[in-house]
Symmetry: C2
């Protein structure tokens, strides 16, 4: 307590000194306050104080993961937290209160007991990287306005391509706004590779093209099919051998359809399953199809000497999606599309707008990479990742990944023979562990539609209670003909065995009387 008081006194003193000093030299421009009278550097440091307190609490297991409220409750205004915008400005004091309230009613995705998404955790180096990125406030459009970030992107992508196993790390790529867009890029460039005239003439210049992916793959392949003009009916969902693509695929050429593209998933969303890339690559080579590996979730395993074999064959892919913001704990967003053939990304997307990319600059304009993207301005997603890589080294990522997979194995071993649990599949490949919790009331019940229907409602009920008590969060979903089951994933570096134990205790506490 004494320490806390001392800190407050010092903080105030410190803030005043800093803000006075700044006030002299930069006066009106820095200041967001009306009339420029307020010492706004003080404001910024007070925000930092709010944020560091939040970070501290995020890692404290005695705090809740969330303080749940329904939309109508937040919209009505919780304890004066008014979301409505107005014509008139608010005071800086009120803005600080707004910042506190925004965090208070949000979800602590870095909490050691937040297991709800593939992206979780709060890496401090990554966070520092994001703060710096925001402060630099530039975009990846040209070397001219983002020289350092453009080079970091190129070097990091090369390193990632080396880990994929493409000779010399050659190829191309960029960071895109998430795995869905990275997957969309893969379909676009595959189409450009085989039917470049579609760029100018549209889909009518190509035969009816078909994309293949597994029924367990991410829905973004289908979204890409819809958006890019293929149509979802021409995205063929191949059935899987329980978890991965079946080994034998029917020769996919008939009825005038032309197969173009196969997506192999390296770590599926629900099961964490890895399609057998080498076997799929054999088929793609035989029929001259583009092979994409969606490693949005599983790509991180390339960093682990122990687990990278699950992606064996990835070096045969034409393109790869890999999201460091998932398994590698990089703050959102950070997703890479990597391409084996150099130049094809530019060929596919460039429009050579002279007013945006001037060829007559004094530096080597091959570093102006903006025209390769479907975006114009592009957020700087590279720096936090680059900084984390610097701080951890490749071995740091490896340790993180190995630890998360060990924890999942711990969970799997703990519940596979435990009373009241049924596993959806045996032997996790990734950190995904999928299971049903069977409340005592259903344990003696014979299997059949009635029990299935009741079981279907168990996970949503437990999840709702979890959210209302705010103690932990874990995902659930149905899959095919399987009723709702829990999908546990671990990507948070803060999670330990005790948090896994806590989750299981909590499921049993909340689900026991259902």
């Amino acid at each position: 307590m004494e320490n806390v008081c001392k800190i407050d006194v010092l903080l105030n003193l410190f803030l005043c000194l800093i803000s006075d000093r700044l006030f002299d030299c930069i006066s009106p421009y820095l200041l967001p306050a009306k009339n420029g009278e307020e010492p706004t550097m003080q404001f910024l440091l007070e925000v930092v104080d709010i944020l560091t307190n939040y970070v501290k609490k995020t890692f404290d297991r005695s705090t809740k993961v969330l303080d749940f409220h329904h939309p109508h409750q937040l919209l009505e205004g919780m304890e004066g937290f008014n979301l409505e915008l107005s014509d008139q400005p608010e005071s800086l004091e009120q803005i600080l209160v707004d910042c506190r309230d925004t965090l208070k009613y949000g979800v602590r995705t870095g909490h050691p007991r937040f297991f709800n998404q593939l992206s979780s955790g709060l890496d401090i180096i990554g966070l520092a990287g994001e703060w710096l990125t925001s402060t630099a406030n530039t975009n990846m459009f040209t070397y001219e306005i983002a020289p350092v970030f453009v080079l970091m992107e190129q070097l990091t992508l090369k390193k990632m391509r080396e880990m994929i196993g493409w000779p010399g790390g050659e190829g191309d790529g960029l960071f895109s706004p998430g795995g869905a867009i990275s997957n969309m890029y893969s379909v676009m460039i595959a189409r450009y590779k085989y039917f470049p005239e579609v760029k100018t003439k549209g889909m009518s210049a190509a035969p009816r093209l078909v994309l293949f992916t597994s029924e367990h793959s991410h829905y973004s392949i289908k979204k890409a099919g819809a958006a890019l003009g293929f149509g979802t009916e021409n995205v063929i969902l191949l059935s899987t051998d329980e978890r991965y693509l079946k080994k034998k695929k029917k020769k996919p050429v008939n009825l005038g359809y032309v197969p173009l593209f196969v997506n192999a998933t390296g770590g599926s969303t629900v099961y964490g399953a890895f399609d057998p890339i080498n076997e799929i690559a054999d088929i793609c080579e035989k029929y001259n199809l583009w092979l994409h590996v969606d490693g949005a979730w599983g790509g991180g395993l390339l960093m682990s000497r122990k687990h990278r074999h699950k992606l064996n064959g990835i070096e045969r892919a034409n393109s790869v999606t890999w999201n460091p913001h998932k398994m590698m704990g990089v703050p959102l967003q950070c997703s890479a599309i990597l391409v084996r053939e150099k130049g094809i990304l530019a060929g596919c997307n460039s429009m050579c707008a002279g007013y945006l990319f001037q060829p007559d600059k004094q530096y080597d304009v091959t570093y102006d990479t903006g025209d390769k993207a479907i975006q114009c301005g592009r957020h700087v997603d590279i720096f936090k990742f680059w900084l984390m890589w610097k701080a951890k080294g490749t071995i740091g990522f490896e340790q993180h990944i190995d630890k998360c997979l060990d924890l999942s194995q711990y969970l799997y071993n703990k519940i596979k023979n435990r009373e009241g649990y049924v596993m959806v599949f045996d032997g996790p490949q990734h950190t995904n562990v999928c299971f049903w919790y069977i409340p005592p009331s259903l344990r003696g019940m014979p299997d059949g539609p009635e029990r299935q229907e009741k079981l279907h409602r168990v996970a949503p009920k437990i999840k709702a209670m979890m959210m209302e008590s705010g103690t932990t969060m874990v995902g659930y979903q149905p899959q095919g003909n399987k009723v709702n089951f829990f999908r546990m994933v671990v990507s948070n570096p803060a999670a330990t065995q005790s948090d896994i134990d806590f989750l299981i205790d909590e499921i049993e506490r909340l689900g026991h009387d259902l």
Copy 2:
């Protein structure tokens, strides 16, 4: 000097106290340092110190806008700044050095003399908002994990639709990763509106569709045409009446082409020109075409009672792109796609993946907006904008916009009759002022190919010298048959008349002897 020392002492004391306190309660999880021995909250505060110093310098006119280096120089490693990644971790001390170097070799886009892009400036409230967003580290996928941000997005989009003039602010929309993607959304939903079967069957289910836009519009419409399967040849670039779309457009129905979509630009990239929306809307209504207004750059003028008339007719649009990260000074990225018809965004893009959007949650799942997007995870772009709107009020944005347009008028008045300047067009509509600087050596020369060729090289030369001296930055480009000219834009709230004067002096200083 004395103050500075005191601050250092206090800062250190403060940091130690804070970090000790934190060290006790959160020990290994917070710590990015190897073995968890380092007080990493101190690290975070040291990063803040680097960032606040950078902010301070950004607004200081005695600092350079940039310290230019060629790619090969940075790649070789400037004074120990090594961009290469390694297997082994670096020390936290080295990470701090990396942060400093990253900023040192970057470009100060918030500097009062940075005029290079449509996005410039560094708003402190917006910056605080981004720092908080990074700390919250969530995504816009579901209400479940971003309750406050999802509601803020909905309320802010409604407010924007009200400003567009759609009755009751009704409609739909979302924030997307930049104006190019927002424009792409507009084409996608137009296609879905008229030919919904393209979603499932692909472009072969539709006739040959044509998109119209002006030759001065942003290249992203063409990019969207290529990506979505229309083909760039089916994106018809209409010629303009010097700056805007010609008033009479040929009836665009012949040869089996079906016109689908017209883009009217509200603030073009180079000229800042506003197409006559009402006249275009008449044509669209007559021929039943989708009307999109690309107000990425000009949309902010809706906030100004003085200037919003330039967008008259925008309320007749079916969709609007509006980037608060441009004219409104919101940090990158912040772009909205707004749609008049409710439900069409979801109709176009949703895939109803049960494993991602569970219908059986305890809250109103209509707030789970992820499936409307082509992205899966979506970065939180709303908070900084919402916070700025709270802090400034609508009138704060109005003042900012009016001030920027006044400054451009000041520049225009200053140079329109000045010796050595030729205006590309008279009477700016937006903050774009386009002009040739004619060095004394060319002033007496008769017009002709030789003079044009020499003039074409003037702007790049001046720009290169500007960058090398680091004093200011302004864009240039050719346009149609016009040789390279400067495009001056003002969106930085820190810019004043003295900075405009400086720019002109600098152009003359550097260009005088060319």
